[in-house]
Structures are given as C-alpha cells and as structure tokens.
Symmetry: C2
Subunit: 320 residues, 2 copies
C-alpha cells in the first residue's frame, strides 16, 4: 500500500513554496517557483501544477496524494478566495476554483498565520493542546487562534487579526490606513521603527547609527543586542513591553494554554521571549498569571510554511 502524502503550498510575495508532507509531518520534498507578483492567480497555479506534477512523478510509485493545503495572504477559508492581497496583483479571486482546474484532490486555503497555527497543532509545539494562539512576527504581525481544537475564523472568515489591535489610536502609521496597530511596534519592521525613534529621542551610542533605515534588519538589531549594544537592547525591551501588554489582552479574551511565537523576530530567542514573558505576566489579570506558556515554534524552520499549509488539509481529512 502506498504512503499517503499531502501537497502543501505557501504563496508569498516573492516566491511560492510547495512540498509533499506525510501524515507524521515529514517533508518528503520541497521546491519553489517565483510568484511573479504582477501575474494573476491563474497564471501562478498553472506554472505551479506543471512543477508539482513533474516533481511528484518521481514519488508516484511509493506515495499517494490525498489533498492540497494552501497558505496565502488575505485568504478566506470559508469562501476559498484570496481578497486584495497587499503584495500581489490578484484582486479578489477564488483560488479553490482555480485549483479544481488542475486537480480533483480535496483542497483548502487559509492565511499564513492560520496555517502556522494548524501546523503547530498537528506537527509542532501545540500537539495535544485545545486552546492556544500562534503569533507570527515577520514584516507584520499575524495571528492564528485555536479554541476547542478549532481554528477561529469568525463570522466572515477573517478572525485572528491581533496585529491590528490598537496600542495607541494616535500612534504609528500602519499599512492598514489606521494608527497605532500592534504590528507597527511588534514585528520585524516595528522594532526597526523603534530603533530609529530611539536614535532620534536619545543620545545612546549605538553601532546601528551607521546603518540606513532601508538597510537595517531585525537580525542586525538582534546581533547588536547580543554584543551588548544598549540602544538595541532598549529596542527589544520596548517591543516586548507593548507585545506583552497586548498578549495579556489576548489572554483576557481567550485564556489559552500557550502562546507560540513564530517567524523572523522570534528567532531572536531570549532577547524577545524573556522580556515579553515578563511584561505579559506583569500586565495579566491575577487568575491567568503563571498559567500561559510562551513558546517558540516547533516546526522545523526550513519547511515551516509547507508543513503549516499541508497541516491544513491533513486536519480537514482527519475531521471527515
């Protein structure tokens, strides 16, 4: 009997990654193609399935494909659509209808943070948990919320936008058009903004003062902090204070067993985990104190996106 595997697809602004993942979370194969943000969705999936069919031919003797899971920006699980993704020229498009042209396999789509949450539940740090939150700290701040072992999609399929809760209604300009959203402070871009605000507001010497805004990465800030750069350390503390405050708010809503941090800024490890945990506990209602774990992702970094996307469809198949 052939081993069952699912296709995981992660659509990014630059590259679209795909791979084959078995029921235990082993990634058998992974590859990627350029997304070409100017092309429409139909053109991407046509190229994608040419590659998938070609690459799968090497495995078809031992493996059987059972489903397709897709992570994509602004994806709507209920409708199968992607709606006005910020970095792609797609407009509003029904991706699951497009996929049907190329494959009869069961398919599901959700946004990348929700895919990460299901990935942690099926293969990662949240195995065995019924209530948890995944926070992705990348260019923005995404979130996937699980309650009673189910992803929270809400009435319209767009729940889980903790990155757009408001820290300060008169705060930093956000890409969404409003001011003071959490992701303008707590994300790889947010900490970079904090560093530049601090360069202006303080006289603290810092090696980061030699790097331009456009060149600076969150890894540069982490590296400087590890070398003891005070401004970089202050920027991590400032970021953690705001993140800890808003995570305490999320706990007051949902009382999760754990909050899992995922993505670029989470790779800074204790620099971000230790102060975030300290501030989260400080701002937390008494009944929740010392109950909620703050954990790093347990999805292997190299394949995290494809594992998350494949977990979406494995989870659907399990529920049937």
């Amino acid at each position: 009997m052939k081993t069952k595997i699912a296709i995981g697809i992660d659509v990014g602004g630059t590259n679209t990654v795909f791979g084959f993942v078995d029921q235990e979370g082993n990634c058998i194969f992974e590859s990627s193609i350029p997304t070409h943000a100017g092309q429409n969705a139909l053109q991407l999936f046509e190229r994608l399935f040419l590659n998938i069919n070609h690459d799968f031919s090497k495995f078809s003797g031992t493996y059987e494909l059972v489903g397709i899971g897709i992570g994509a920006p602004n994806a709507n699980y209920y409708k199968g659509t992607v709606e006005l993704p910020p970095n792609l020229n797609w407009g509003v498009v029904n991706v699951l209808e497009i996929v049907k042209k190329y494959s009869a396999l069961p398919a599901a789509i959700t946004n990348d943070a929700n895919a990460a949450a299901i990935g942690e539940m099926i293969f990662g740090a949240a195995v065995g948990m019924k209530d948890f939150i995944v926070i992705t700290l990348g260019t923005g701040l995404g979130s996937g919320i699980v309650v009673n072992s189910q992803l929270v999609y809400g009435a319209d399929g767009f729940a889980g936008e903790i990155g757009h809760t408001i820290v300060d209604p008169e705060g930093r300009a956000c890409g969404c058009g409003r001011k003071g959203c959490l992701e303008t402070y707590a994300s790889a871009s947010g900490i970079r903004r904090t560093v530049y605000m601090m360069m202006g507001s303080t006289n603290i010497p810092s090696e980061l003062r030699n790097i331009s805004f456009n060149q600076l990465t969150s890894k540069d800030i982490a590296d400087a902090a590890i070398r003891g750069d005070q401004l970089a350390l202050d920027a991590f503390d400032y970021t953690a204070k705001i993140l800890g405050l808003k995570l305490a708010d999320a706990v007051a809503h949902l009382s999760p067993e754990a909050i899992i941090l995922f993505g670029g800024l989470a790779l800074a490890g204790d620099l971000i985990f230790a102060p975030t945990k300290r501030y989260m506990e400080e701002y937390m209602l008494n009944i929740f104190k010392n109950k909620v774990e703050l954990l790093p992702s347990a999805l292997p970094g190299a394949h995290a996106a494809v594992l998350g996307a494949s977990a979406l469809i494995w989870n659907e198949l399990k529920r049937k």
Copy 2:
C-alpha cells in the same frame, strides 16, 4: 405528557434569584431569597432547595424538572467551582458537589456574563448566530464569547474577561489590583468615575454637580444627558470612545457577527449605543467595517438572569 422545565439560579451578592423556564424560554415562575453574603455556599443552597422544592410542588402536576443551570460570580464551568467571589464569603467551593446533595438532576454552572451569552444564543438576540460576544455593563464589565456556537471557556475555564483588557497601563485603579482596565471606564461605575473626573478637569455646568459620588447612579447620568446636560453627554461620549476602541480590538481577535450589550448602562439606549457604534467603526480594521452589529439584549429584563442560567442547562441537554 408533562412539559419539561429547567431550574435557573442566579447567585448575586445581595439576592439569589431562581425560576422555572421551559424549552421556549417562558419563565413559568420566579422568586428570590437573600444571599446572606456572610454565609457559606452550603447554607445558601440548603435554603434555596427548600424554597425550590416548596415552590415547584404547585407545578409538579403539569411540569417535569429536567436540569439545573446556575450563574454565579467567578464560577468555573469545567470544575463546577466558585473561586474567591469578590462579594461572597465562599472561598473556593465546588457548587456542583453541593447541588448533588439536594438534587439528582443534571446541573451546570458558569459566570453571569457567560450565562447571559448562552441566554442570548438560546432565547435572545443571538438566536441563529454562531459567533458573537455579549458584554454586560453593570458594576463591572463582564463578557461571554461564543465561537462556532460554543461558549469560549479557554484552557482553565476563565476565558472572556474583556473587562480586564487594559486601556492604559497607567490609568484608573481597578478592583483587580492593576491599572487602566476597560471596566474602570466602560461600566456603570466607570461612567460615574468619568463624570467626577470631568467635574474636576472642566468648568462645564451640570446638574450632576449637586450629587455626591456615592449617591450618583448611571441612571442619573442618563437622565441628565436626556435633558441635554453637556457634562453628562460628554461622559457618555468618553465612555463610548474607550468602549468602541476595545470592542474593535475584540473584533480583530474574533470577527463576531454581533456584539450584544446587556445590563444597567446598556439601558441608556442610544446614548451609549450610537456613539459606541460610531467609535467602534472608526477604530475597526477595514475588512471588518460595517459587518458587526451592535445590538441590545433581547432577554426580557425582568427575567434575564434566570433565563440565562436556565439556557446553560438547556444548551447542555440539547448537545447530548
């Protein structure tokens, strides 16, 4: 065949209300006894069941009791306990164990805001909805969150504390020991605090300046606002702005179909609903704008607490 009815019990700091409610939400009978906050839980339930058994004897020819639903402060649905209720001398006590001494009927317990949420789902404004939030605006601010037609209890049974999300970490002192919790602004007590802050910070003339802090009620503020009192109107606007901001945050987490306002301050009607809705929309992420209804409770005020408590057990019985 006898008609099935459930017992609804709402434990308050002053009085404990109980009643008999049929499957359609008709309250056949309602009465109350003093809670005697200094007594322990066993003493209350002994008196309560003496009354329930006596009062039910008049109905036993036509009705059959099928279950007991209880709303109580700091109640834990999972454990059946009430834990350190602020206004009762109970400590930590397993209420469902006590109930077993007096009745073999299936029983369930939750806090009053969660009972209100289930009440709205089964008998009130949320019939047919799968995702909604109930906010109770009384002395404090309580909340009950429903996702996928299930009350959100979280990992420990205490989820739904939106009243203790933080508006300003340096803000008003809260009964929970922290500062700036939403309920210190948006509740019957919160708007009273706002009125007194405004009396100090402005010179706006107001009829409320003749009333002492301890005497002023949220109804006095609403009555003054209806008569055009500017300070009272400003206090409603200030309250609504903060409530609208934090409801927009709740929407970003959960994307509910509706938010239902319940309790004393909600009785101010358009004075609180109109500006709260306006600010909530202003602070909301684009994808959620004009999707979330802000509704008044549809549980008949006189019996709301007993209907909510009985709905808890009707909901349990339906799921079996």
